[in-house]
């Protein structure tokens, strides 16, 4: 299967041999950051409803989407520094490299408000649940947390690497372990599992399109695995350490998604989980069974720390990739390419912050915006799939055009792996046009049109405008010149 090799006769990857910047993080830290970007316990109650079938709902997407994404990004990052923009730029073209990192960056703008609204409602659950319906409270919490995140990110990769790793440990790994141990205690006491754990419940209910939507949309549970590759130059030996980091993250993500959801389904029956709206109430149902309901506010605080850890990794990753390619190719105005004294893309973060703040304020204060906000999560995930299409295409092309370029890790049967990844991404892109529950009985074509227009504007029109109006003098660094800790 997979192998990590650096044959003696092959020159060591450039990343491994250069001596520029000192390493600022270990491969374990990078693995924890990657895990924090993708996984948390937030989804556990939602998936616990499916009982044993949640294993299928996570494993099948893991085989057809997570595995290709992880393996391919491990190979690419072990050969080229810089993350997805560099891989696509090297494999396909520089404008497509810009498109890839733009799509990765743009989709986060709509992600932060919904993530922080969830954090605001969880804080409200701890302090005073009635605050959750207060627009001003929600707006203030989103603003304070988001700009604090921007401030922390602007202090350098080391600060956020530490915070996001600890956020994952405290907010996901510790409570996840508690859930699983309690679930095992429950079964160990001789109690029957609330959800049937037999062969006939291995697969989810098949109802045609609805089931297909559920299964295929779950591919996206793993989106973001490649995002932290932009920090690969912060590792001591990227060629060897990045693949190790990716494999550890892959294992952690699978464990975090599957085991806690199963543990909840052992203890709380599916319909009892649905009795109470909300993630925290589901945890309350779980802890109430063991008469430790007081654990719920502690679990809420843990979940908050995990969500904020995830936000930090997303703040730092795509914006850094956008900066790198823009400095080299002049795709963004010089103002946006400016670095602060820590070598961080402060102006990109602040500009992104202003746009995010406007969207977040609209979400919190205008009911018409919040009621349709779910639709943006479809548009942004559609936009993100462009990144994967480009990444798999670039990986295949790089194997053909630069087969001898040193890589610390080579994916066995890369063509097959990339084809599976491409087909999965296309399937997820296609299923994104099927209206979900929230769209109700309105016209399917109006939904298709809305999602299609959103995809075109956010994923193609805006980056095209940047490319069209760029000026030669916007280029502020020679190709390959690093920013913070970067090595080409």
């Amino acid at each position: 299967m997979s192998s990590i090799d650096t044959p003696a006769e092959v020159p060591r990857p450039r990343a491994a041999t250069q001596t520029a910047a000192p390493s600022t993080m270990t491969w374990v830290t990078l693995a924890l950051m990657t895990t924090a970007s993708v996984a948390s316990l937030r989804a556990a109650p939602t998936m616990a409803i499916y009982g044993l079938a949640c294993v299928f709902l996570y494993l099948v997407p893991a085989i057809v989407f997570l595995l290709p994404t992880a393996l391919v990004s491990a190979e690419l990052a072990s050969g080229w520094n810089g993350g997805v923009y560099r891989w696509v730029a090297e494999g396909l073209s520089k404008p497509l490299g810009f498109l890839a990192v733009w799509c990765q960056f743009a989709m986060t703008i709509f992600y932060y408000p919904s993530l922080l609204a969830f954090v605001a409602s969880t804080i409200a659950y701890v302090i005073d649940p009635s605050l959750a319906s207060n627009g001003v409270y929600t707006a203030i919490v989103i603003m304070v947390l988001y700009w604090t995140g921007v401030w922390v990110s602007s202090r350098g990769t080391k600060a956020l690497a530490g915070l996001s790793s600890w956020g994952l440990i405290i907010g996901t790994l510790v409570p996840g372990t508690i859930l699983v141990v309690l679930g095992m205690v429950f079964l160990g006491q001789g109690n029957p599992s609330a959800a049937p754990m037999n062969a006939s419940h291995l697969l989810p209910e098949w109802t045609g399109l609805a089931s297909l939507v559920l299964i295929v949309n779950n591919f996206l549970s793993y989106s973001g695995m490649e995002m932290n590759a932009v920090h690969v130059s912060s590792l001591k030996d990227p060629a060897k350490e990045y693949p190790k980091s990716m494999f550890l993250a892959m294992g952690l993500v699978l464990l975090i998604f599957i085991l806690p959801a199963l543990a909840i389904s052992w203890v709380v029956p599916a319909d009892q989980l649905s009795l109470t709206a909300g993630v925290m109430q589901a945890f309350d149902a779980f802890f109430s069974y063991f008469d430790i309901g007081w654990m719920t506010p502690i679990a809420a605080v843990m979940l908050i720390s995990a969500s904020l850890a995830g936000m930090l990794t997303w703040l730092a990753g795509p914006s850094k990739g956008l900066l790198e390619i823009s400095r080299q190719e002049g795709y963004l105005p010089p103002f946006l390419q400016k670095l602060n004294k820590f070598g961080i893309q402060q102006n990109i973060l602040v500009t992104q912050g202003v746009v995010t703040s406007v969207i977040a304020l609209m979400y919190a204060l205008i009911p018409n915006v919040s009621s349709v906000y779910w639709i943006f999560s479809t548009i942004t995930t559609q936009v993100y799939l462009i990144v994967y299409l480009l990444m798999f295409a670039a990986a295949m092309r790089l194997r053909k055009t630069k087969p001898d370029h040193p890589r610390g890790y080579r994916v066995p049967a890369l063509g097959l792996v990339c084809t599976v990844g491409l087909l999965s991404s296309l399937a997820a892109l296609g299923i994104g046009f099927v209206p979900p529950s929230q769209f109700g009985g309105s016209s399917v074509w109006s939904y298709v049109l809305f999602i299609g227009c959103g995809l075109l504007v956010l994923g193609f029109l805006i980056p095209w405008l940047f490319l069209k109006f760029r000026k030669p003098n916007w280029r502020t660094a020679a190709a390959g010149a690093p920013s913070e800790g970067g090595r080409a």
Partner: protein, 145 residues
């Protein structure tokens, strides 16, 4: 910036985060009130049990229902039709992603319908607000029971 100053600034960030999170946890523990089971909570839980069984759901554990919903339905009855709560509820009707891959799916009919029954028993005056949200949804039987 010198490495010493860099490290000490980091220390402040870490300590700031720890103080805030611990403060929030302590606040949560102080404010947490376990529902005290009494005749009223029992009566409501049994009423809910009857309604659920009538609607074709398995009988829930009455003790847990008492703990979760008390006499007034707790958080479930806290402005269920509010725009922000409804928005978050809609965002949460999604796939198994916990990050930016979160995307809406076609939800399970019975899993959503059960909340309406809870409202009917614990705060019937708020059913209409929630019913409006529920009526707008297109659902299917996606959970194997």
């Amino acid at each position: 910036m010198s490495p010493t100053r860099f490290a000490s600034e980091h220390k402040w960030i870490y300590w700031g985060a720890i103080v805030l999170l611990v403060g929030l946890a302590v606040t949560g523990l102080i404010r947490y009130e376990a529902v005290k089971a009494n005749n009223e909570t029992r009566k409501k839980a049994e009423q809910l049990q009857t309604e659920l069984v009538k609607a074709g759901y398995p009988s829930p554990d009455v003790d847990t229902v008492e703990q979760l919903l008390g006499t007034d339905g707790g958080v479930v009855c806290e402005q269920p039709g509010n725009a922000l709560k409804a928005a978050l509820w809609k965002i949460q009707q999604s796939n198994g992603a916990a990050g930016p891959g979160m995307r809406p799916v076609i939800s399970d009919t019975k899993a959503l319908e059960v909340e309406r029954i809870v409202l009917q028993v614990y705060c019937p005056d708020k059913v209409d607000d929630f019913q409006e949200e529920l009526n707008d949804l297109k659902t299917d039987d996606t959970v194997r029971r």
